[in-house]
């Protein structure tokens, strides 16, 4: 079976209550139970919270089910009549979300939502086997609780949906019996699956009890505990007079602790009720909501757990308290006797004296407390979530085996069209296409999707660029024959078929019936329904949101990698990092990883948009006519890749990327280095701060962090360990590549430089002039060499950077400039290649590097390399360079003089990675993390 599970019970305020706990636990165990037998997909509502917590929770239990994010469509709560049109539209879109994807079973885990929140229920009973969890129908028995008629109308609609479900999973036998009686349900359609208690809820072991926790909460003596909701039916206020009526000596020895989420008005109400009952401040404690680990400690430490609730569908708190070894007494009402199963542990909450008597009987008799503890622990062992899930699976399988309701999607009407349609008809068009009218019909097919009946042979001419891009991405734009006409038509239409002669009405009717379940057909039918019945009550913004929510549910054809080029697309400064971005992206665009479509994207004005212009410029082709840089639509089949170092844009885009994560978008970032952290003195404070922020945001978002060297990966691991990050993404490494232009592409040097390099030993330095690169030490060393009559040349290639004002002045005014000192601030790749070829050796005096691309570039050209002895250079270049240590100019000058005298030989290496290798390895690393 394919099962779609609605997760809104984990998203509304219910997530803080028993329904949330129940939904989480049953879903987790259900997913475990069906592994290898059935497929499940989780549906979340983007207008509600709780998605991150749920996804993390499932992932921690090694569960990674596919998920669909619906919406967001806001302002749909039933309480406001002004929301009616939005809600009706949202319900239709939500029904569509449940419907597509070939589900056999739809499981609504909490139907009673959406009165004051934006939870959405299907507009009608899904055509699939529809299952709902039934927590209770208690409000049916106390109509006053439903308040004014709007609330009643909402509740009765939900009850009507419950009545029509194919299978109800009741959380207790009492709920089942009550529902059968009140709703007149067929007994075979409602199954008790019960509830469970998590293994974390267990009696205290040595060291579990935490006096500091109790002290922090203001608990200074043995205490009675209540945990749960505080709404009227929970009857919490009955505890105050009951506690107050205890004999003074007993009361003085105890406190009453009420745990649960309390808003300010509720807290005031409870505190006042306690005062009215004659209790002093120190006698009652209201810690509010406490996390589970603290709640467990309270259960374990309490002298007695009292649960006076008047109406419960199950009663998880008493069960959890029993599991933790607390003596438990409960009201003898609704489902509670079924949970506790011990008549001696019950009282009649409608009689205050009955609660007092029950409390006294435990507090005054230690043996009775022990007996209750033991019986409670034994009873709690009979409840487990895996058993609940197993009963749910059994019930669904049994219901599925006998499910006979017709599930075929209703076939739409159709209209044959041999000329462009204008959508005047609600029918799905069948385009009668051939070689002559294809150009005319393509825009109509795209605007009004339908089926394409092609008569005659398909054309063999090249498909226009725009159509190639739509069907096959940038790779197809580069290759006129990468996609053919059948593929283009299939991409835009519901179905394509080639015919010798035009089909008759009956054949077409059958064809459209066969495609009635196609997501595009279903979407068009929902659009028509909304347009006909609801759209006139929506403003344009709301209608646009509906259209967007609807269209994003469409399954995307191929997986897409969204490569962030925000910075490089707006200002390519020619930095090493930007060279990496260009080189990898270019290879991915021309030869994408199998099954992946590469889309460069840029963050502009708060949204990510397609960066078609940048992609085309990188590929040195014009943008296909008609291709616009529209907003990126997220369907969940995407992976975001932060290839560029987006220090400035990531703080602005991080919230949006978090939202993308919730839809299932994978997140990967490239870490080029950690230098602002490892060499802070070489960077401006604001750069350090910006880098720190970027690294933290990336780590919070990422599924994978991919480092350009093992050394950088080690530094990253150290940083994550020291920072004790709550998330530790997978890390990997990939090599950077080098590409030596052919000699024909190499530029000619100007005569002065050419002569200087041809007649003297010369040392080339490549990299931005900044403190970390060690230019100052090099220049000092060369001055020493020149003073000692060594006739050597220093060539510096690099833009002026930061914190090097004095050095720049020295370079600009140096007496040797233009003779034995050359500085090229701007240098093309071809000119740089010429300098590499003409120089004697590369000199690398960097104090820290993430990779050190010039080392590999020189080595690949067979040039000797003299480099500082850094771990990263040894990692990437091994024994190839000659290594020096020390930061004094004299040490370097001496080393260079000796090197010139000895000219050590280096074995040539031919195994340097190319950019093809780099792009390919990085793609593999991303793929490995994505499939984990």
């Amino acid at each position: 079976m394919k099962i779609h599970i609605d997760m809104q019970g984990l998203q509304t305020e219910s997530r803080h209550r028993g329904i949330g706990r129940y939904t989480r636990a049953t879903t987790v165990e259900f997913l475990h139970a069906i592994q290898g037998r059935h497929d499940a997909r989780l549906l979340f509502n983007a207008a509600l919270g709780g998605i991150d917590e749920a996804v993390v929770d499932f992932a921690e239990k090694n569960l990674h089910p596919p998920r669909t994010l619906f919406g967001p469509l806001r302002g749909t709560s039933f309480d406001n009549p002004g929301n009616d049109a939005r809600r009706e539209a949202a319900e239709r879109v939500y029904s569509h979300a449940l419907d597509i994807g070939g589900a056999d079973v739809v499981w609504l885990t909490s139907l009673i939502e959406g009165y004051k929140d934006d939870a959405v229920m299907p507009s009608d009973l899904p055509r699939q086997l529809t299952v709902a969890t039934l927590y209770d129908v208690i409000p049916l028995g106390s109509g006053g609780d439903l308040g004014q008629s709007r609330a009643r109308e909402w509740y009765m609609r939900r009850i009507d949906m419950l009545r029509r479900c194919d299978l109800l999973l009741a959380i207790s036998s009492w709920v089942r019996d009550d529902a059968i009686q009140r709703l007149g349900l067929d007994e075979s359609r409602i199954v008790t699956i019960g509830a469970g208690v998590d293994a974390r809820f267990r009696p205290a072991s040595e060291g579990d009890l935490d006096a500091r926790l109790l002290h922090r909460m203001g608990i200074d003596r043995p205490f009675l505990l209540y945990s749960g909701g505080t709404d009227k039916r929970k009857n919490v206020e009955a505890l105050f007079p009951a506690f107050s009526a205890l004999p003074k000596a007993l009361r003085d020895k105890h406190q009453l602790v009420v745990v649960g989420r309390l808003d300010a008005p509720t807290r005031q109400r409870l505190e006042r009720a306690a005062r009215v009952a004659g209790l002093d401040d120190g006698e009652t404690v209201f810690p509010g909501h406490v996390p589970d680990d603290e709640l467990i400690r309270l259960y374990q430490a309490c002298a007695l757990f009292v649960f006076p609730s008047a109406q419960e569908g199950f009663g998880l708190p008493p069960l959890e308290a029993m599991a933790c070894g607390a003596p438990v007494i409960v009201n003898n009402a609704t489902s509670l006797p079924e949970v506790v199963n011990d008549p001696s542990a019950m009282f009649d909450a409608s009689e205050p004296s009955s609660i007092t008597t029950a409390i006294r009987s435990v507090l005054e008799d230690p043996n009775r407390a022990i007996a209750l503890r033991d019986a409670g622990v034994r009873r709690a062992r009979e409840f487990s979530w895996p058993r609940v899930a197993a009963r749910a699976v059994d019930a669904m399988e049994a219901a599925w085996a006998t499910f006979t309701r017709p599930r075929n999607a209703p076939a739409p009407n159709y209209s044959p069209a041999a000329a462009p349609v204008d959508g005047a008809s609600a029918q799905i068009p069948i385009y009668l296409m051939d070689d002559d009218n294809v150009a005319e019909l393509m825009p109509a097919l795209r605007a009004w999707p339908g089926l394409a009946e092609w008569q005659g042979p398909f054309p063999t001419t090249a498909v226009p660029e725009l159509e190639r891009y739509r069907a096959g991405g940038w790779k197809a734009v580069l290759d006129p024959y990468a996609v053919d006409w059948p593929r283009v038509l299939a991409h835009e239409s519901v179905a394509v078929r080639q015919v010798e002669a035009r089909q008759d009405h009956e054949a077409r009717r059958r064809w459209i019936g066969d495609n009635a379940s196609h997501p595009l057909v279903r979407q068009r039918m929902v659009e028509d329904d909304i347009a006909a019945h609801i759209a006139h009550r929506l403003d344009e913004d709301d209608l646009a949101r509906v259209a967007d929510a609807l269209d994003r549910l469409r399954p995307s054809g191929s997986a897409r990698w969204l490569v962030d080029v925000t910075h490089v697309a707006s200002a390519d400064l020619g930095t090493g990092i930007q060279r990496v971005v260009r080189s990898v992206l270019k290879r991915w665009l021309t030869a994408p990883p199998a099954g992946i479509r590469i889309e460069p994207v840029a963050f502009r004005d708060g949204l990510y948009q397609h960066a078609h212009g940048y992609a085309a410029a990188l590929l040195k082709i014009p943008v296909p006519p008609g291709l616009v840089e529209d907003t990126v639509a997220i369907t969940g089949n995407e992976t975001f890749i932060g290839l560029d170092w987006a220090m400035e844009s990531l703080p602005a885009s991080a919230d949006l990327l978090h939202a993308w994560r919730r839809t299932g978008v994978g997140m990967h970032f490239i870490v080029h280095d950690l230098l602002p952290i490892t060499l802070p003195e070489a960077f401006h404070p604001q750069t350090r701060e910006a880098f720190d922020r970027w690294l933290r945001l990336s780590t919070d978002l990422a599924d994978g962090l991919h480092c350009v060297s093992r050394s950088t990966a080690d530094e990253l691991a150290t940083w994550m360990r020291m920072e004790r990050r709550s998330r530790t993404p997978a890390t990997s490494t990939f090599p950077l590549g080098v590409e030596v232009p052919s000699a024909l592409e190499s530029a000619r040097l100007d005569p002065t430089t050419d002569k200087a390099l041809a007649t003297r030993p010369s040392f080339l330095m490549v990299g931005t002039i900044e403190p970390r690169k060690g230019h100052e030490q090099a220049l000092d060393a060369f001055e020493l060499l020149w003073e000692s009559n060594a006739d050597v040349v220093l060539v510096i290639v690099g833009k002026r950077g930061w914190m090097v004002g004095e050095l720049i002045q020295r370079l600009e005014q140096h007496g040797e400039r233009g003779r034995r000192l050359f500085w090229f601030e701007g240098c093309s790749d071809a000119a740089l290649d010429a300098l590499y070829r003409a120089s004697t050796a590369l000199l690398v005096t960097s104090l820290g590097e993430g990779f050190g691309l010039p080392v590999v570039e020189a080595a690949q050209r067979g040039k000797p390399v003299i480099a500082r002895s850094l771990k990263v250079f040894r990692e990437i270049a091994g024994d190839y360079p000659s290594y020096f240590d020390g930061t004094s100019p004299a040490v370097l000058a001496t080393y260079l003089a000796r090197w010139l005298a000895e000219r050590p030989l280096h074995a040539p290496r031919s195994d340097w990675p190319t950019w093809d290798d780099a792009a390919s390895v990085l793609a593999e690393r991303i793929g490995e993390v994505s499939t984990r």
């Binding site: 983007a46 002004g82 808003d263 605007a447 659009e527 759209a535 209608l543 509906v546 616009v628 907003t631």
Partner: protein
């Protein structure tokens, strides 16, 4: 102004939570004035929810969403 309105609304909600009868009476009263009821509920909903980040900018819609919108608008015009 917005801050003051929200503060007043919060205080009013706190008072009503302490006095269920008053709350029931006021809710019933406001319920008879649909426009006021709708505005108050919108205000309360806005203060409870942040703007969703996947919310749409109608001027810069993804192509597929824009097509869907255009189809619905065209159907409405018939």
């Amino acid at each position: 102004m917005k801050h003051i309105t929200r503060m007043l609304l919060r205080r009013m909600m706190a008072i009503m939570a302490r006095h269920p009868r008053l709350k029931r009476g006021l809710v019933d009263l406001v319920y008879r004035l649909p426009w006021v009821d709708m505005r108050l509920r919108q205000l309360a909903a806005r203060s409870a929810h942040d703007r969703a980040l996947l919310d749409l900018d109608i001027k810069r819609m993804p192509e597929g969403s824009r097509r869907s919108l255009e189809r619905m608008k065209a159907r409405m015009r018939q």
